[in-house]
């Protein structure tokens, strides 16, 4: 049913109806934004990347294959765009006058009661762990954990083979496991792990 509505919206958007595309955005904004946020680790950049992914999807809507899931197609655009962004990222040099950036919990835009602090700390820890992975490994992990995609689906989205995805996931899991024991932010990590139980 939902798929029929989605297909109708796609057809309308293809005919030039921007409002129909707006409805498609509302349907998939959370999935696309979460992917961008998990990939990039920063809310403003995630919003910019999600916006860019939707704009690209709109510009290339005629290339969309109706036999495929629209959500998967969108996520594929977003993940590849985020991988490109991460590759282009350059080192940011901090001047001594500027000092170190504030603690993640201080720059979070979420409400900060006790539970929110724990959730926020946990989120930051997860982002710190993901940041240790290369863009390709990160994309595989995010698609597997947050979108429950099969190896074949991830391989299709990232334009690679299923065995490459298995290998990336294993390497990524190894890196994450190593970081769990070697992480310096022990307190944050303990909180995060307790929250995960």
């Amino acid at each position: 049913m939902e798929s029929n509505i989605e297909q109708a919206l796609i057809a309308q958007a293809l005919a030039g109806d921007e409002t129909a595309f707006g409805d498609l955005i509302r349907l998939h904004q959370n999935a696309v934004y979460n992917l961008c946020y998990r990939m990039l680790g920063e809310r403003t950049e995630a919003e910019d990347a999600a916006q860019e992914a939707f704009l690209r999807a709109y510009a290339h809507l005629m290339r969309y294959d109706g036999a495929r899931s629209f959500r998967t197609w969108l996520l594929s655009i977003a993940s590849n765009h985020c991988i490109d962004r991460l590759r282009k990222r350059r080192l940011t040099w901090l001047s001594l006058d500027e000092g170190l950036p504030p603690h993640p919990s201080l720059i979070s835009d979420a409400e900060q009661p006790e539970d929110a602090v724990i959730t926020s700390e946990r989120n930051q820890t997860i982002q710190m762990m993901l940041a240790e992975l290369t863009p390709e490994y990160r994309a595989a992990v995010i698609l597997r954990y947050w979108y429950d995609m099969s190896y074949a689906e991830i391989a299709d989205m990232l334009d690679t083979t299923e065995s490459a995805i298995k290998s990336r996931l294993f390497r990524a899991r190894q890196v994450l496991a190593e970081n769990i024991t070697t992480s310096k932010s022990g307190a944050t990590l303990r909180l995060a792990l307790e929250g995960a139980k």
Partner: protein, 191 residues
Amino acid sequence: MTTQHKKAAMNLAIDRLLDEQEQVALDEHLDRTPEDAHLWERMKRADRMLRTAPKIGAPHGFAERMMLALAAGSRPQMDKRLGLGMALGLLLTAFTAIPLLGIALIGLLWVVTNGAALGLLAARVQIGIAALVNLAGLLLQQVSATYASSPLTLALTLAIIPVILGWLWAVRTFATPGEQVTYRIPVRIAG
């Protein structure tokens, strides 16, 4: 259990895709190898943490800001207008240039087919070339006279050459166009 097999088995086990027999083989391997068992435990902790991580929803007003960006980015329409303007300009230029080119072509044909006119044209061209050669000769004479009277002028002229070459190199190296960056200003819509 080979390293490759162990790797595949751990991956599948984490994703709950390992069949019973393979799971038993993996458990036996982990019982025998404390190092792998330690890694396996840490991998499970990381897995648990990721599995329970929440999805972060799009910020408030994202879809509305997206619609604004879509409306602002209706570049194809703008390009169409630009294309139309350019086509009209080209059409106007063609309408002006065609009669002029026609007149020039008729004149050229008349000169080529008329012997006397051709002779006259050849004589004029010859005079023109002679005048240019004279002018160049005069200029050369003037330059050599200047250099002979003041050798410093020659040295300065020669010094300018590496400066120009250096400047061209600097322009080529440092003035290459960079990547175009688009900045978007987030706009919050009330409601």
